[in-house]
């Protein structure tokens, strides 16, 4: 990761400054909410333990209400965890007794930048005044000229040179988010937090702005933590993805690892479309499962073996992605035949639903030279890498 030394201002004292690309470590962090009457306590995050790689982009992915924003706000210091320890660049910023030492660093001293969902630009200040806002806080000794130079650099970085004297109200949504990014990067934070920053933008703009943001934060080399409920966004932007559910960390890994080797069926379904085929695994040869599509290779035989007890065959749910299914027009073969029950045309590919003769429905994404039509008889074949399988029984 480049650290962009040319844009670093002198004198950044007063804030715990760990330089761009600080590692963030969370240990047993629990965040709770009270309602207005201090009655009901809601656990937003429970015992989250995580290490965020320095200088990389990490996506916090989960459905709404999973606690991902609470976790982000705890790192920023906008929420006070009930338990656990958070450290940024090796310095503890939040630690709760009895397990921790009782440390609390105020948000303004954490060297953390944050871009909010709505941008949160100060409506009474111009673009330039917004960007220079964090450069004027106590402890920074930048001259007026240095500040102006830094603001110009930041506006160039987000490609908004010439907008310096505009008021936020006159900017488009995408421009506002870029100003917000420039404002949070101007003081050179060690960690950049993004809270669903693209969710207010429409689809086309969204893809453009997020590509630009990814380029900028990679240029700067700042450790970036990014909250989203959109799996595409998490995968496209994230070097690493943290999947959260009901306040718990479910899985941490690269996008590819999470897509192809999810820990649980729930993750499998959350990060993409999943067919769960009912099959059986013979303990004697645990490297493949017998499914309606024939023998499918599986990756974690030990997971199946652990459930075996005394049985010699274990019933499993086998994860088969729609793109791992090939549709064959022949109708001669005995197994895995059925008829097309739905056609969705996407252009780059076509999604079919096929109702097998046993009544189960399987989704397949594929490109076939000629479009299949509703009701057409087809045969399905598995074609892909080894997949995950889970013994039937325990939930998820």
């Amino acid at each position: 990761m480049t650290s962009g030394p040319d844009t670093r201002p002198p004198g950044t004292g007063g804030r715990a400054h760990a330089g761009p690309g600080a590692v963030v470590v969370l240990d047993g962090v629990t965040v709770t909410y009270h309602d207005d009457d201090d009655e009901d306590v809601v656990h937003a995050v429970q015992e989250a333990t995580l290490q965020i790689r320095a200088g990389a982009i990490t996506s916090l992915l989960g459905p709404s209400g999973c606690g991902k924003t609470s976790l982000l706000r705890a790192i920023a210091g906008l929420e006070r965890p009930r338990a656990g320890t958070i450290s940024i660049g090796g310095a503890v910023v939040s630690s709760v007794p009895p397990r921790g030492a009782g440390v609390w660093v105020h948000p303004e001293r954490r060297s953390v930048g944050m871009v909010f969902q709505d941008g949160a630009l100060f409506p009474h200040l111009t673009v330039a005044q917004n960007v220079s806002f964090g450069l004027r806080s106590s402890g920074r000794k930048l001259s007026r000229a240095q500040r102006a130079e830094r603001v110009a650099d930041m506006l160039a970085l987000v490609d908004l040179t010439g907008f310096a004297d505009r008021l936020p109200g006159t900017l488009s949504g995408g421009q506002q988010q870029r100003v917000a990014l420039a404002r949070s990067l101007a003081p050179q934070p060690s960690v950049l937090l993004l809270d669903e920053p693209f969710s207010a933008l429409d689809a086309a703009l969204r893809i453009q702005v997020r590509a630009e943001v990814a380029r900028i934060v990679r240029d700067v080399g700042v450790t970036t933590i990014f909250v989203t409920h959109d799996q595409d966004e998490a995968f496209v932007l994230g070097d690493e993805v943290v999947v959260l559910r009901d306040g718990h960390v479910e899985q941490v890994g690269t996008p590819d690892a999470i897509y192809r080797h999810p820990n649980t069926p729930w993750i499998a379904g959350f990060v993409g479309e999943a067919n769960f085929l009912r099959g059986t695994v013979d303990i004697a040869s645990p490297h493949h499962a017998d499914t309606p599509l024939g023998a499918v290779p599986i990756t974690h035989p030990e997971r199946v073996r652990a459930a075996a007890d005394v049985d010699i065959a274990v019933a499993v749910d086998v994860l088969v992605r729609p793109e791992q299914i090939v549709i064959d027009r022949g109708t001669d073969d005995s197994h895995a035949s059925g008829h097309v029950s739905a056609v969705e045309y996407y252009g780059h590919d076509v999604r079919y639903e096929v109702e097998l003769d046993d009544g189960s429905v399987v989704a397949a994404r594929t490109q076939v030279p000629d479009l299949l039509h509703d009701g057409q008889r087809v045969r399905l074949v598995f074609d892909g890498h080894p997949v995950e399988a889970w013994p039937v029984g325990p939930a998820d």
Partner: protein
């Protein structure tokens, strides 16, 4: 409502249709029926002020002599208005912040309770303090009970400042609370993350967002103080209104000159406030996430104490004082609630009529400004809004002299019709704001879609427009009713002989030194206002409701 008629029914009638041409040309003409009605109403609202200025300019030589006597009262008026608005700006903002953004104990109770001083007319408040400080009054007794000498004198600038501040700070508290409640927390959080302490964040981020609310509320307080008559009269502080009242029959030149100066002052302040409004577009996103309250820690104690003191001066002490005198009178059999029945009925009747009329009269203007904005409609709206800036006393003076000296209008002199007319002109602006909000409650898209579903215009009005506008109209009428209940100077000048309202009853009893009767009538007035405030204003406001 005529607006509905001007738009063509068929969405795309085509250019060959002559009807479509006619409809379009009518819609683009500057003088639509709606705007003409609006302008006429605006002219009527500007009438009294215009008359005062015209009369003053015709004074000739007398004008110079009269203006020579103005500077003293003018200086006192400015002194008091500036002091009171500055005090209420600080007090209202501080209390709004405490009750919406901190962990102040019982803050939901305070959110309601701290608005309540609004139900006390300031002249009643002043009377309550004076009565409380005389031997036998609750404040006098309280001082004696703790072994202190009660203050001998409760008059002049200090007393007027205290009383007016204590009863007008809710004009700042309410808009600032609403603004704070709607302010998105991410703004303040951004301030913190960019390196500011919580205090610095308040000054550099929050305060600029509150600016327009504070200025708007402060302007209301300034205008209120400027036109205040009853309290300063009781507290012996010689402001312009006192001069106008005292000289209205003996020295009409001075009376009109003072009224004109007061007018210029009011208009000048309104203009100043408008020109000082921030150039930034207000951040009108509404807050979705809950705000973490600021933890006060040990500061909870002084914060609570401040709330208690404010509520004590603005509500509890005056009520106790009035109650003590009323109880004394009732037990001695010198006053009875029965005597107040007629004034109470009179008060309620004129208030309801004024409220209904005010809402109805400004509705065309509200529809014109919201549905098809145009410069001409804005002129009419400014004229109505200006009615609030013109002191009630000035309006009453103009109407009294006008009807007395003009043969065509002389039959109106000392009729309840003229009284109600004065109320409508003075308080129409309060109905206008609510009416505009009500008109906006029926968005264009909704009006268009209802047109496709229900072709009958009248039934559309009944089924769509009225139900959606009703809350706004009722709230606006409630505000006018509440203000009318509390009004004193116009009622004093314009009431028909023998027609007493609760305000004039309190005034007369007090002037005769009859504290028991004044106390009882005040309590009845407060009960009436409190009930109306609760049902029509507070229950609908966002500030009190759970966020």
């Amino acid at each position: 409502m005529t607006d509905l008629a001007t738009a063509p029914l068929a969405p795309a009638a085509g250019d060959r249709d002559p009807l479509a041409h006619r409809a379009r040309s009518r819609a683009t003409a500057a003088l639509t029926l709606n705007r003409i009605v609006g302008l006429a109403i605006g002219a009527v609202f500007a009438g009294p002020a215009g008359f005062v200025v015209w009369r003053t300019l015709r004074l000739g030589d007398e004008l110079g002599d009269a203006l020579g006597e103005v500077p003293g009262p003018l200086w006192r008026t400015i002194q008091l208005s500036v002091l009171v608005s500055a005090t209420t700006a600080v007090l209202g903002t501080g209390l709004a912040w405490l009750t919406t953004r901190t962990d102040l104990p019982f803050r939901r109770f305070w959110r309601i309770a701290l608005v309540l001083p609004l139900v006390l007319p300031s002249f009643v408040g002043a009377a309550a303090f004076i009565a409380g400080l005389t031997p036998g009054g609750v404040i006098f007794d309280a001082f004696e009970a703790v072994g202190l000498t009660p203050p001998r004198r409760f008059r002049g600038l200090g007393a007027s400042w205290l009383v007016l501040s204590a009863f007008t700070y809710p004009y700042v508290l309410l808009p600032v609370s609403a603004r704070l409640a709607g302010l998105h927390p991410s703004l303040e959080e951004s301030g913190r993350l960019l390196g500011l302490s919580s205090t610095a964040t308040f000054v550099r981020v929050t305060l600029p967002q509150l600016r327009s609310a504070i200025f708007g509320g402060g302007l209301l307080v300034f205008l209120y103080t400027l036109s205040e008559f009853g309290a300063v009269q009781l507290l012996g502080f010689d402001t312009l209104t006192r001069v106008i009242y005292a000289t209205r029959q003996t020295n009409r030149a001075l009376s009109f000159a003072s009224a004109s100066v007061l007018l210029v002052l009011a208009v000048g302040v309104v203009w100043l406030e408008r020109s000082q409004r921030g150039r930034a577009t207000p951040d009108d996103r509404t807050s979705t996430t809950a705000v973490r309250p600021v933890l006060l820690g040990w500061r909870r104690v002084p914060a609570l104490a401040a709330c208690f003191v404010v509520l004590g001066i603005g509500l509890i002490v005056p009520l106790l004082s009035l109650g003590a005198w009323a109880r004394r009178g009732l037990t001695a059999g010198r006053v009875s609630l029965g005597d107040l029945l007629d004034p109470a009925i009179n008060t309620a009747t004129v208030s309801v009529i004024a409220a209904v009329l005010a809402v109805g009269v400004v509705l065309p203007i509200a529809l014109a400004t919201t549905r098809r904005p145009h410069r001409l409609s804005d002129v009419a709206a400014v004229s109505v809004v200006g009615g609030f800036a013109i002191p009630g006393l000035v309006i009453a003076l103009a109407l009294a002299v006008l009807t007395l000296n003009t043969p065509t209008f002389s039959r109106l002199y000392q009729t309840s019709a003229l009284l109600v007319f004065a109320y409508v002109i003075h308080f129409g602006s309060q109905a206008l704001a609510s009416n505009e909000a009500a008109a906006r409650a029926v968005p264009n898209a909704l009006r268009e879609s209802s047109r496709l579903l229900e072709p009958n215009r009248l039934r559309r009005l009944v089924r769509v427009d009225v139900p959606l506008m009703r809350p706004g109209l009722v709230a606006g009428g409630g505000l006018v009713m509440l203000s009318t209940l509390k009004e004193l100077p116009a009622t004093l000048l314009l009431s028909p002989i023998g027609f007493t309202t609760l305000s004039t009853e309190i005034w007369a009893s007090y002037e005769e030194g009859f504290y028991a009767a004044a106390g009882l009538a005040s309590l009845v007035l407060v009960a009436l206002s409190a009930a109306l405030t609760w049902f029509l204003v507070l229950r609908r406001s966002d500030v009190v409701g759970k966020r």
